[in-house]
């Protein structure tokens, strides 16, 4: 499903956090969102997920304006993995992932074998099936993140929004999550801090000061010039001798 934003604006207590954001993510694409801390990545994801209503502008799911849809209908198409979501409840991994079925259940539409199958598959997708009966508070940060992603996948979304999902993860799990996300046949918007990882996305958008200042192919967007302007770093591009891929290396001064 295509996800687009038209002239989005949002502010909190009079402080503008998003200004005139225009964005279109094609179906099946993985769209990377990069930008310095406080540039508005999380705010944009929250608006795209329907958690906050924009002050002006609108979000379109396919051709449907989001504000015409109920929260439940939105959640049947869009899933969000927040940056930090924790609980003090004694709850198992399987129970957390089961929460992802919430938009499809109601007081009168009970849990079914199909829901069980979806939850089991989501646990397999993030390589957490062997931990299904572990309690949440015994998990490491990386394991929690993977459970959250499984919970989002259990929503069987057309669009998956991930807010810095590789935070707290060791490098192996960072790579496995990114690989998983890229292979998903659905539309993905993912905010990332690691710019080399962002290069693997189909498209990239750069946020700065609440504006989406650039978007397009990673190689066109993440230029040394852009990185100097937005992140204030100097960039060298090196070729990896193994596969010839380009790697960026950063310095704070020349």
């Amino acid at each position: 499903m295509r996800l687009s934003a038209e002239q989005l604006a949002w502010s909190v207590h009079g402080t503008p956090l998003l200004i005139d954001v225009n964005l279109a993510v094609e179906p099946g694409h993985t769209f990377g969102l990069v930008g310095p801390n406080g540039s508005g990545k999380t705010s944009l994801l929250r608006l795209l997920a329907g958690l906050n209503k924009p002050k002006s502008g609108r979000v379109l799911m396919g051709s449907q304006p989001m504000h015409t849809l109920k929260q439940r209908a939105i959640a049947q198409s869009i899933a969000l993995v927040e940056q930090q979501a924790d609980t003090t409840d004694r709850i198992t991994v399987h129970q957390v992932v089961s929460l992802g079925r919430t938009p499809f259940l109601s007081a009168l539409r009970p849990w079914s074998a199909k829901d069980d199958a979806i939850v089991a598959q989501a646990l397999i997708d993030v390589d957490m099936a062997h931990m299904a009966d572990r309690l949440w508070h015994t998990l490491s940060g990386g394991e929690r993140q993977r459970v959250h992603i499984a919970r989002a996948l259990a929503q069987q979304p057309n669009i998956l929004l991930l807010d810095e999902p590789t935070n707290h993860l060791d490098i192996r799990h960072q790579l496995s999550i990114l690989e998983l996300v890229r292979q998903l046949p659905i539309t993905v918007i993912i905010s990332l801090h690691d710019l080399n990882q962002a290069m693997e996305c189909d498209r990239i958008g750069v946020m700065d000061g609440g504006r989406l200042i650039d978007s397009g192919h990673p190689h066109d967007v993440l230029t040394p010039n852009r990185l100097k302007q937005t992140f204030g770093v100097y960039t060298h591009v090196i070729d990896d001798p193994v596969d010839g891929k380009q790697i960026m290396r950063f310095r704070s001064a020349v």
Partner: protein
């Protein structure tokens, strides 16, 4: 595969467990009727029940029959309703506010309801149980509103209102709210009530089932059932709040209407109970935590378990309040607080450690 099997069997356990619920409740009600200053044999109780409910004609002692039907049974039924309602209010508040210490008593809702009820009783803004409940309802909502606003203001002052930080703030706000409304209650009593009235109200304020009659049952039973049905209907919404309101919204819960509806429903139910028996503390804190320990924190099981345990707990507390000091009836709030305060301390310490 083994996972699937354990899950299936736990589901079966849940169903079997639901089946015995009414049996446990009836057993508790009979115990509540049998035990007291004058012990009454269960056989007599069953005969009186058959006489009253089925139109049977067993010969029973008139005095026993009077104690059973007019005094102890109605009292046990109201105790059960009250326990269920307060415990469910605790479950809902803990789930929605993501706070293990949330409870209608600690958050000042009961204090607000008391103020409202006293204002109606003393100032005489109308008579009858319903207007008393209405006054309590207004007071409860007012108290909740003030407490939440205060907590919100305190949080935005610190910055980063979501989640864990909110926990401490809402308890502190609850203390402030409780103190305010208790002071208002005392003020109204001192200003307007006669000495006789004041004594009665002070006794009622600590939680007291002595004055309960069948008229109260007709108010308490529908209120408790309403509270139970609302919680059962929204059990998945309550689950969805496990990771907070944002997470619930991203899973399709219309957070504002659902949260507002649940809190208003629980304030209403709490207010009805307070208007009948006064503010009984700690039921909403102790019972949900005990039940989470036994049946887990998923609301499909937690709600019925809490409803049942709350009912049994308050019937048991009522029995204790009647037999603990011979010749005296303790306010039931004294019993629940004696049990609840240590439990509160335990939750506090364990929460700190984790």
């Amino acid at each position: 595969m083994s996972i699937a099997i354990t899950r299936l069997s736990t589901a079966g356990f849940g169903l079997r467990w639901l089946w015995i619920t009414p049996l446990v409740l009836v057993a508790a009600l009979i115990a509540g009727t049998a035990i007291g200053e004058t012990p009454i044999p269960v056989e007599t109780i069953l005969k009186v029940l058959a006489n009253q409910l089925l139109g049977a004609d067993y010969a029973v002692n008139r005095i026993d029959a009077g104690i059973i039907w007019n005094y102890r049974l109605s009292r046990a039924v109201v105790a059960a309703c009250c326990g269920t309602s307060l415990a469910l209010a605790g479950v809902v508040l803990q789930a929605l506010l993501r706070n293990p210490l949330a409870d209608p008593y600690l958050m000042g809702i009961s204090a607000g309801a008391s103020t409202g009820a006293v204002a109606v009783a003393v100032a005489g803004l109308g008579a009858g149980a319903l207007s008393l409940s209405l006054g309590a309802f207004v007071g409860a909502l007012l108290a909740f509103g003030i407490v939440v606003m205060l907590a919100h203001a305190a949080n935005s002052g610190v910055g980063g209102g979501r989640g864990v930080q909110a926990a401490g703030a809402i308890i502190l706000a609850g203390i402030a709210g409780s103190q305010l409304f208790n002071a208002l209650t005392a003020f109204i009593i001192t200003k307007s009530a006669s000495a006789e009235q004041a004594r009665g109200i002070m006794f009622w304020l600590m939680g007291n089932l002595s004055g309960v009659r069948w008229a109260d049952v007709t108010l308490a039973v529908p209120a408790a059932l309403f509270g139970l049905l609302v919680c059962l209907w929204h059990r998945r919404s309550l689950d969805a709040f496990t990771f907070g309101a944002d997470s619930a919204a991203s899973m399709g819960i219309a957070v504002r209407p659902v949260r507002g509806m649940l809190i208003i429903a629980m304030a209403l139910v709490t207010a009805v109970m307070v208007s009948i028996v006064g503010a009984i503390g700690f039921v909403g804190l102790v019972i949900p935590h005990a039940m989470r320990f036994i049946v887990g924190s998923r609301h499909t099981r937690l709600v019925p378990a809490t409803a049942l345990a709350g009912a049994v707990f308050l019937i048991g507390s009522d029995i204790l309040s009647r037999v603990l000091v011979p010749g005296q009836v303790l306010p039931i709030g004294v019993i629940t607080s004696l049990i609840g305060a240590p439990a509160f301390a335990l939750i506090l310490v364990r929460g700190k450690r984790s």
